[in-house]
Symmetry: C2
Subunit: 140 residues, 2 copies
Amino acid sequence: MTPRRFQELSREESLRRLGSVRVGRIVFSHQALPAIRPVNHLVDDGQVIIRSHAGAALMSALDTVVAYEADFVAEGDRIGWSVIVTGVARRLKVPEAIARYERLLQPWVPDEMAHVIRIQPELVTGFSLEECEQGEPGAA
Amino acid sequence: MTPRRFQELSREESLRRLGSVRVGRIVFSHQALPAIRPVNHLVDDGQVIIRSHAGAALMSALDTVVAYEADFVAEGDRIGWSVIVTGVARRLKVPEAIARYERLLQPWVPDEMAHVIRIQPELVTGFSLEECEQGEPGAA
């Protein structure tokens, strides 16, 4: 099998890849337990935007530090990438911004999405796994 | 567009779907922050098995409650499913079991994987989004 190379991605490249897919997962604490929910997102001006309905568990994540992850895995799990953003989740309050994101961001799960949430990335990490020539540095 | 139906999955069906894919994400606390790592898994006898290397952040998740998520999203994010398992992560110690899983479970990220971890599902939730006929109950 072709060897693969594990590569760390820059912050800029990580955010670019995150913005290239539409579904990711928000990770937070809920009732003192680790929780995760798949949602649609968009990356706008370096920030991650998601929507939530009012009764959702993830409303308990507001004003706390959350992680947001997206990945892409292909060719029998041989290659792909993953990006993880960590930062505080805040509910947007400016009506014009809310209206704009409501137009741009269609929720994956059909539900009444009352809130728009912005995650301000403090920490951005990413890696990719790519095929490479045998003998190349980093080949595994 | 064809309407979609949101459907909760039974525990049995959730574990079946989890076992039908190879990559998921373990969710845990690391240094008091929410953390997530994509890994390969298998479902064996109703338990989720993953591998980890000794220096990984997720070693701090051992003997704590973690969440494990896998999903499948298709057709422009219109349909798919997601399964979330919550339970305690334990390191396997029986050499025969470790050797067996090391044969069965090839890590996604090429690295020396010293440990085999089992998540015993306490809570299993899942949902699916499927297309359905207009007027069917639950169509959205």
